[in-house]
Symmetry: D2
Subunit: 351 residues, 4 copies
């Protein structure tokens, strides 16, 4: 690659925006050329505008960049978005209308009928919606989204088992504090404590997004037919920095033998591995037979934060099979997911 | 009460033994008169023999008592046991054979056919097994047990709903570090981390004990017929000091309306409340409609640690209804449970 | 006491305001009759206006009270204040001008020359400033303050040693998250972490307040002559809920023998103990010889949160003597301190 | 380098032993060829013998190696030691006597008169003691040690300031749980808590080692003359995984201006940087002007865990200057320190 592709970041000063910057530093294809944030931050040096959280320093070049307002048309064509809140949808739409390809981690468009909710290992064919999206909306640009950080954990093993006819999923999540951004969860709420609730309809997002991600493109190519499965999640916040854990029981039309399920996890692979995308983990799923794994502090970094670790696979007397899965909520569940999406989009010449 | 009943404590130096001492200080009926522990501790002053963990000081009188070996026959007739490990069963049996009434928090005898697994609000009629136990075993004493600290959380709401025909329970637990005793869980394993596994067959105990506790005395009064329900639990250790949380989905033969289930929790009450036992909470179940409760740090102390808090009651698309329950694992789930058992036994003139 | 004295709370919805309510519930002299907070909260039921943090429930009567605006003249004559931020000074002053006796936990007036920075065990004679204050300012009411929560920890042992001629103090603090209020410290900053800095010039407050508290009323009774000692503090925030720890080295004009220092701690007592004030701890200082105490989770509750625990007393090769002290930052260091101040003021007929 | 130098590890299954393995994986000069541990572990596969704690997996080749008994003569000439407990000294001595060059993280020999307590940036000339050691003891091998993990934090800035005549140091440490090894600190002692004490005479080690490290080789080259400074430390354990923080006040014979002290930190460098040793950080000291840094979770990894971060440099009204320093206790304070020592020894042709 002679010259890197310039990218912008909408919402560059937040928790996920910082991860975009960290993960894109030294990226072989992309180069951060533009940083957008709220009006409050615009005009400041990035180092002043952000409260940097990560354990690697702000890259020197980025620290000196000036933060811009999120004015459509500004910045490179390829824009990563980690905007939060109510205005995210409007801004992303304005950027897409004015020609930007928005690769978004926000929740606003995930469930829109003509917007791919893309997990490159699972549903690259959903990118066919892009043509529909442009036709429907008259945009010169486009929007592609990645899943909610908790849903992301579970869709990977479910995808590996899709052929076995998953029809019921009952999940319990133990989610890290970083999932709430910064300042996010007050320490008085979570030190030595657990909260059995996550706002923003987290449980609804989990259920809806899971069946869309695992769904099939309709015969006319115009929409996604969701996986016909019942999914429910009970979400908990735990005093962990990074790494969402999901313990789930899964029902099947015809329950397969456990060894078949284990093997399906072990051999699971997809388009990012075929195309050897820069951010693709060598194996999307790391299966462990250690009794007490996965654990967030020890396993969230698997595959540079892009792999999902699955353990405790065993029969469930109620639904069929149960297990615990874990991945890094800010990497595989947010910034890393969006970057992998952009890599696939570039590799498939859709930019 | 003219004179208090003297009690002994088997395993007085451990986490639960310390709680026995704390909770029995100032008890209106019982008075600690004898402390037994391992040979390593025997002969020492209690204050030297134990690594006191609690945030109230060792009662002065107890601090000066000399710890004895656990020799059957020694100590008062009524003995609380919080012994751990493989020798617990042998010692408890020897004490019961030599005439002691052993009120045990240990797991050894919980599933024995002729041993009550007693929760006074739920199954006081199981005490009828005591006659069978004495007949079977030829003991002059007896053994009564209380449940595993995680099972204890869930049986309370399940008992309130027993009339509705509970037939399936899928539970996910978030358990406090104190459940593992002292030194218990190493800090390097649990600081900023979650472990999706608890040793000692915790999940098996949860499932088996739940259906025994909720079971019915057989017509011949010789055994407990377990509740005919499928129960499964996925256990997690979380960085919390005290308070086990259980989020569960429950299936019913004929799913009742949610308001009926809520009312059943609100009105639930039992023998300890009728008899106004000293350690009985005024209401065994505290139901909350706060979206983000119960929480261990804020709710474990409800009803002086003897009440179970239930929140997030809502429909479950997979099994019927779901909710989160919490109680104090060392009080309601261990020492307090045993003390309440002893209070019932005394009140029913079974000592 | 025939009838209780009605009190108001300025800033009733914050962390310290909640503690006022918790500690005043069942108080033998005072009764909460008025709750003031920001305009945002005014008009709401208290239960709606506050995010209650404590592990005891909101008293039912208080939950239903309507929060008022902080309009001078409103509410009872005796007003506790836990207002934060820039407007605290203005509001407290307006209340004092309009006749209220303001017993404040805020920092605004602590260093004002004519305002007592009162610790009843240490400097009850500083109340003589009240006459000066009224004369100077023409107020019909008055303001009395209590110390910063970290300074509070150390002044107690220093007061016990005042006769020995303390002249240098070098302190290192480990402060709990509750000291920053709610939402306060973001969990991403403090989970598994330590921050060697506390904003709001905490170190300056510590140094200045310490020498004022330990100072003497000037011969003309018009001001406090600070203790002529050099004091420096290095403040750290640690992942603890409640309980500020201070490890300090102290220099003396003529270093006394350690046993004399120990005895001085053991016998230290003051006006609250003489007058048997309702919130006075039986002994202001609990000295421990346990090697590894005090600890916040185990000792912050000493004396119902009103005692200071001092341990690790030993020689310091640099300054003379060193030790670790700890007290509850929201009780002895805030709400409890103000209540004890009000009790003294009432007992001395100064209301 | 044609062929790597084989190394052994004494105490390979502990917390520091695991770090040796992690840090030596892919080392350009050294290759782990032998693993020694207690008799209990000997004969087992390494993966079975150890409870691996780290967030990178056990290198596959190492996992399959068989753990050996620590029999002198066994294993390669160069042996890293992370043995703990009373037998460490005996075993290390036996290995040195039988010809091994023991690069030890244990405390046993640190204060021995003829054993270098080596920090390559600070006192490489102390290696002259090796000739004395061999002469005195008749060993064919040798022992070199690295400092206590808390002392290590402070000696780096003190060395940068040695020319200014440091004469008094009063330090307060906030030490991570990993410093106590595994299982180490029980979670019930440290979750939401702080312990103002660390066993094993930590404070004494800190004081004694600091002045030896900063000391000068005596004119006859036979011993180290300690720095003539008074040093005292107050040690605290905090709920942090990795990273020891030390806040200290320092006195000087002639207090230099702060900018001179800052510059001395910025330009500090030593033999490892000159020789470009593989584990040497580019700059031994990272100075920060951020008000709230260093922090263990964000700064322990500086310079791949080999740099010391210094912040909050400011005047101290008691001693002269104060600041906060931090480094990774298991890397710079243990395994990484020993590896850097071995690199220097190899580079200086002393093996």
């Amino acid at each position: 690659m002679d010259k890197k592709i310039e990218v912008g970041i909408l919402g560059a000063t937040g928790t996920v925006g910082q991860r975009f910057i960290q993960l894109l530093e030294g990226h072989p294809w992309f180069e951060v050329a533009w940083l957008g944030a709220s009006d409050r931050s615009a005009g400041k040096r990035y180092a002043e505008a952000t409260a940097w959280q990560l354990d690697t320093p702000i890259p020197a070049r980025i620290a000196e960049m000036t933060v811009a307002e999120c004015t459509p048309g500004a910045g490179p064509q390829l824009a990563f978005s980690s905007m939060a809140g109510t205005q995210a949808g409007e801004i992303e739409e304005a950027f897409a209308r004015s020609g930007h390809f928005v690769v978004s981690n926000s929740s606003h468009f995930r469930m829109a009928e003509d917007v791919p909710l893309l997990v490159p290992e699972i549903n690259p064919e959903h990118l066919a919606l892009l043509a529909v999206q442009r036709k429907n909306r008259g945009w010169s640009g486009a929007i592609v989204t990645n899943p909610n950080c908790a849903a992301m954990v579970l869709v990977m093993p479910l995808a590996a088992w899709k052929a076995f006819g998953v029809n019921r999923v009952l999940a319990s999540t133990l989610q890290a504090a970083s999932g709430a951004g910064y300042p996010g969860v007050p320490s008085l709420d979570i030190l030595g404590n657990v909260i059995p609730y996550i706002g923003g309809d987290e449980e609804g997002k989990f259920a809806r997004e899971t069946v869309k991600i695992l769904g099939a493109l309709s015969p006319d190519g115009e929409r996604i037919e969701p996986l016909p499965a019942q999914v429910a999640a009970n979400c908990h916040r735990v005093p962990v920095i990074d790494g969402h854990m999901v313990t789930a029981s899964v029902g099947f039309e015809a329950p397969p033998p456990l060894p078949d399920l284990a093997r399906a996890l072990d051999v699971f692979s997809g388009r990012p591995q075929e195309r050897n995308l820069p951010s693709a983990p060598a194996r999307p799923i790391h299966r462990t037979e250690a009794l007490d794994r996965p654990q967030p502090r020890r396993d969230a970094g698997a595959g540079s934060g892009m792999a999902t670790t699955v353990g405790r696979l065993r029969p469930c007397p109620i639904l069929g099979v149960r297990f615990t899965a874990l991945s890094h909520n800010v990497i595989r569940g947010a910034a890393g997911a969006a970057i992998l999406n952009a890599e696939l989009i570039h590799a498939e010449n859709l930019l």
